[in-house]
Symmetry: C2
Subunit: 200 residues, 2 copies
């Protein structure tokens, strides 16, 4: 029966929608922000809207960027013979953290999931195929979707799509624990998985 | 060397300022929000600014409210002989959750802390004294500041301020927390529990 003022109730409701934020955490965050000067809330609100407005997918790889092409696609030092397909932009960050992969990326936007109603048209698969077919430089495509049923079938689907195209399609080694999440894997696990990748 | 676009960097920076939000959690929240439709970020930003703008301290008890008086102060069913002083509005919520306290509250706005530069003028102590002195209904003031050095000395300070005023000033009981473990309780808690022991 703890009754909150309407605006606080609404704020708690919005905060609780965030992943990993339960009622207690939402309450702690809300009361913290309400205790701070109004400028703190205003700044947080502004950066949130600004980020969501300015950021959009890179024209080539669909990573998040404020420009046409992301900072990785425009880097002259990247190895343009290797392409690494990931589910989300956060996975790009995870691989960059290993400091060992120097090729390009392709952000798929998730995995195929009939259960959740995500088919090939919901991912950037057409763009991936066009990109690989249209660029003779690519020697290898590493499919780094999560080691889950959806991730595996998406990898297999990509391999089918590229049959006959002269590019080696590989999959991350199962150094990764099944059911895990690329985004949260530590650097060492990701490195082992990169090193042990195998042709599909 | 994970390089983010500037607006994402700024968002992560703001999120990491929140209590209990580290770099990984900030990243998870940011990428989650960026994946959602723009309306989600906009709504969160709006509710945040709206809450911070609309909410202010209750005229009587300094709890958060959108009106002059908070919903507890205006409730006709509350016991107007009991006053419970807490550090923050979130503590009011905690006591309301017990469904057993039916009196009024007074939100102090923190504790006295010479180390952090918080003196009596930074709390609502003047208002508390005026409130207790100006209202002959109050029979008891329960000081429910945290059981810490600062909370204890704030309670003692309040007791001094109200010397000679015909109101009973009490402090929350000290002892073992429900569901606690004697083996892991710290010395101070065990001492207080011993001191305050009661006949079964």
């Amino acid at each position: 029966m703890a009754e909150y003022p309407p605006s606080l109730e609404k704020l708690l409701h919005e905060l609780e929608k965030l992943p990993g934020i339960g009622p207690r955490t939402a309450q702690r965050l809300a009361f913290h922000l309400l205790k701070q000067p109004a400028a703190v809330s205003q700044t947080l609100a502004n950066t949130l809207v600004e980020a969501r407005t300015k950021l959009h997918p890179c024209k080539d790889c669909f990573n998040l960027t404020e420009k046409d092409l992301c900072h990785i696609c425009t880097m002259s030092t990247r190895d343009r013979t290797a392409l690494l397909a990931v589910e989300d932009p956060s996975d790009v960050v995870a691989f960059e953290r290993t400091h060992e992969y120097h090729g390009l990326y392709h952000v798929l936007g998730g995995t195929l999931s009939p259960l959740e109603g995500r088919g090939p048209q919901d991912l950037t698969l057409d763009a991936l195929v066009a990109r690989v077919k249209g660029n003779k430089n690519f020697k290898e495509l590493i499919v780094a979707t999560d080691p889950t049923v959806e991730g595996d079938s998406t990898a297999l689907y990509i391999q089918q799509l590229l049959k006959g195209v002269p590019v080696k399609v590989t999959r991350l080694a199962r150094g990764m624990p099944s059911g895990g999440d690329v985004e949260y894997a530590d650097e060492s696990t990701l490195l082992k998985a990169l090193e042990g990748r195998r042709e599909i």
